[in-house]
Symmetry: none
Subunit: 261 residues, 2 copies
């Protein structure tokens, strides 16, 4: 794969977020609407609803949305939160503040799991409040759950788009959880298959011979050297090309040593 210049294969199926909408209530700064749209699209979400935005449509929002301007164009604009969530079977409100009446509280990962489960059959809304004051008590009480990002208690005030990003990121993680994961060493998408246990054993024999020939290793006084090298190369889990390189190095050293005799 390396030589052919192929890139790692992306999962074939994109998650289906068509039933999940992000609702921004009474946003003051249009730039935050644009940046939220970008964060949503980065994570594959596309349904944006705005409740009484202070300024929308807006050139500032378009600028910050970058290539997510299509989400702004298709955004629904509502006069009230209850209108924006009217058809939803599950409504979760993002809340940084403590409330006099505590509500069932989720972290972003739990929020994402509930949302993805519910979205199989239901429309779901994640609701974000004003930049300065968040959601009102009344708005929070129209939510089934509240969700909170476990931020630094000394500075928990995330930018609106940053909060949207964290929840959308967790939604994407929850959605991708069942899709085979990322490219890791030894994974199916690594460019070469791994050397076998036999290959590794032969390599260690070869290595030991060369180390003796180099006067680097004295079998009579081993001082844990071979153990440490075994642990080291076990960690590498060399693939077949890498094993050929290592064996090739050893062979070259042997040839050079023979020239001396």
């Amino acid at each position: 794969m390396a030589e052919s210049g192929e890139k790692p294969v992306e999962p074939v199926t994109e998650p289906d977020f068509s039933k999940i909408r992000i609702v921004l209530v009474n946003t003051s700064h249009p730039g935050n609407i644009g940046a939220s749209a970008r964060a949503m699209k980065n994570m594959g979400l596309h349904r944006l609803a705005l409740v009484q935005p202070k300024e929308f449509p807006s050139g500032v929002a378009v600028g910050r949305a970058a290539s997510a301007v299509d989400l702004l164009e298709r955004a629904e604009v509502h006069g009230t939160l209850s209108e924006a969530i009217a058809d939803c079977g599950l409504v979760i409100g993002a809340s940084a503040r403590s409330r006099r009446i505590p509500w069932p509280m989720l972290d972003p990962a739990q929020c994402a799991q509930r949302a993805m489960q519910a979205a199989v059959r239901n429309r779901v809304a994640l609701v974000f409040g004003r930049e300065d004051t968040g959601l009102s008590n009344e708005e929070l009480q129209s939510c089934h759950y509240h969700a909170r990002i476990p931020a630094n208690p000394e500075y928990g005030s995330l930018n609106l788009a940053a909060a949207v990003l964290v929840f959308c990121y967790e939604l994407r993680k929850a959605a991708l959880a069942e899709i085979p994961g990322d490219v890791g060493h030894g994974d199916p998408q690594w460019d070469r298959e791994l050397a076998t246990s036999t290959d590794l054993e032969l390599f260690h024999q070869h290595l030991q011979e060369v180390l003796v020939a180099l006067d680097f290793h004295d079998p009579e006084s081993p001082r844990q050297l071979l153990q440490r090298l075994r642990r080291l190369f076990a960690r590498i889990q060399p693939d077949v090309v890498e094993m050929n390189i290592l064996r090739g190095m050893l062979t070259h050293i042997e040839h050079k040593l023979k020239e001396t005799r």
Copy 2:
């Protein structure tokens, strides 16, 4: 928690991120530096290093940092990436792009776990590249791992501060989870601290010299050999004893070769 009427209890101890630094390479827009600082502080991180920022210090950065301006004031500014990561035992580079030689690739949660484990005994750097072109191949090859946000393949371009936020959020999650980690390489229970980025760089220079002397490597016709060896030894993350063994082997080979002349 909800039923008892209590608000969620904050963890008594804040996570210790003192050994983890966020490195921003060659950032073009100072606003992104400020927004990254805010994202870091929201998640409790505070060590920011900048490599050749286009414009810094900057009033725009201060504005976007909001209450995280203290991170900007204490930010280290470096001339090169290798200087910024010289003392680090673990270096992870954020990379959206595919590479011809795949590197061990982590998702943000895996990245966070490795970083928190390594940070018990070692300094750790998370490196973020330029807004438009990310990290260069050379910069990426000075990292032990690459890490990638599993974004929407149709629009995977996150704002720099958004990418920083996702990784810092996962660091905070990992730190708060207090998962009793498996005994792994680089863990607190590993017997030695890791070789630093500088150690590794010196080793690669030494290795290259020996490979040329062995007629194994021809700098005129490199055939990806050095890149593959960099990837291999990045994966090892050698500790200081192992690094001494490897350097000792190279020195012995050199001595033997000199005897032939």
